[in-house]
Structures are given as C-alpha cells and as structure tokens.
Amino acid sequence: MSVLADLFSLAAVGAGVFFFIAGTAGLLRFPDSLTRLHALSKADNLGLGLVVLGLIPRAENPLAALKLVVVWALVLLSGASTAQLIGRVLRRGRE
C-alpha cells in the first residue's frame, strides 16, 4: 500500500515539475506578453496542483491535507484573477 502511495506521489510530483518547467520555458520563449501570461497560468494551476496532489498521501493528518488543498485553491484564485488584470493592463498598453 505504501509503495503504491509512494508511486502515486512520485508520478504526481514529477508531472508537477514538468509543468513548472513548461511554464518557465513559455515565460522565456514566447514572443509577446499575452502568450507568456498563458504559459504562466499553466505553471500556477497545474504545476502546484500536481505537487499538492502528490504530497497529500504524505500529509500527517487530514487537516494538513486540507491545508495543502487550500493553498492550491488560494493560488488558483489569485492566479486566475490576476491573470485577468494583467491581461487588461497589457491590452490597455497596446491601445
């Protein structure tokens, strides 16, 4: 059982790291700010989400696991709304 849990953790954390790398690559390589914003939101939402998912089986108690999920939810909330706001700032800059 614990081997299974470990495998699950590894897979999820590994996928999370992949999305962080992808997000950073996008931030560095994409040609303009709006596409970079798109890349960033992938790292925010999926990268951290998968890492959190991978760490849940290792949490000491259910409350700690809940806190992990709340951390992710907070980052999702702020990431979604600030992406919107940054997008507006960028569009205004173009006009």
């Binding site: 470990d6 953790s9 590894l10 954390v13 590994g14 999370g16 790291v17 962080f20 790398i21 997000g23 950073t24 931030l27 560095l28 700010s33 970079r36 914003l37 960033l40 790292a43 925010d44 990268g47 951290l48 890492v51 959190v52 760490l55 290792r58 949490a59 700690a64 806190k67 992990l68 709340v70 951390v71 907070l74 980052v75 909330l77 702020s78 990431g79 600030t82 706001l85 940054i86 507006r88 700032v89 960028l90 205004r92 800059g93």
Partner: protein
C-alpha cells in the same frame, strides 16, 4: 523517496531561477510581475516538498501565509500598474 522529493524541489527552484531571468530582462513591468508570480508559486511548491522530505513541523501554515501574501503583493503591484487609467480622479 525523500531524496527524490528534494530533487524535485531543487528542479523547481532552478526552473524558477531561470524564470527570474525574465525579471532581469523585462521588457516591461507586467512581465516582471509574471516572473515574480511564477517564483511565488514555485517557491510554495519547493517549500511544501522540502518540508515533506525534511519533516519540519508547521510548514503547512507557512505555505498558507505565503499563498495569501503572494496574492496580496500581486494586487498591490497591479494597483500600481494600471494607475495610468484615470488615477488622478478621486
């Protein structure tokens, strides 16, 4: 297992460090803000991974605080960035 989690944390820190090159290059403040946001998320992920591997207690609360404060700081910077838009009118 712990070593692998630490390695993942290290990879994220390195990735985020590369992303910080974005701060250095710009070209404008919105890009810099995005890079800091990425650093915030990556920092939280690295923090959770390291804490899980080294068993420092109470780090989940630190992560909660970091997530809140990253959102708070981002809001303040946005507040500054869109200041051009009729900010003079009360």
């Amino acid at each position: 297992m712990n070593e692998i989690l630490l390695a993942a944390a290290g990879l994220i820190v390195v990735t985020v460090a590369v992303g910080l090159a974005r701060i250095l290059r710009g070209p404008d403040d919105a890009d810099r803000l995005m890079a800091v946001q990425l650093l915030g998320t990556g920092g939280i992920a690295a923090l959770l991974l390291t804490a899980s591997a080294t068993r420092v207690p109470g780090v989940d609360d630190v992560a909660l605080g970091l997530a809140l404060l990253a959102a708070f700081a981002t809001m303040a910077f946005l507040n500054h960035l869109d200041a051009g838009e009729g900010d003079a009118e009360p």
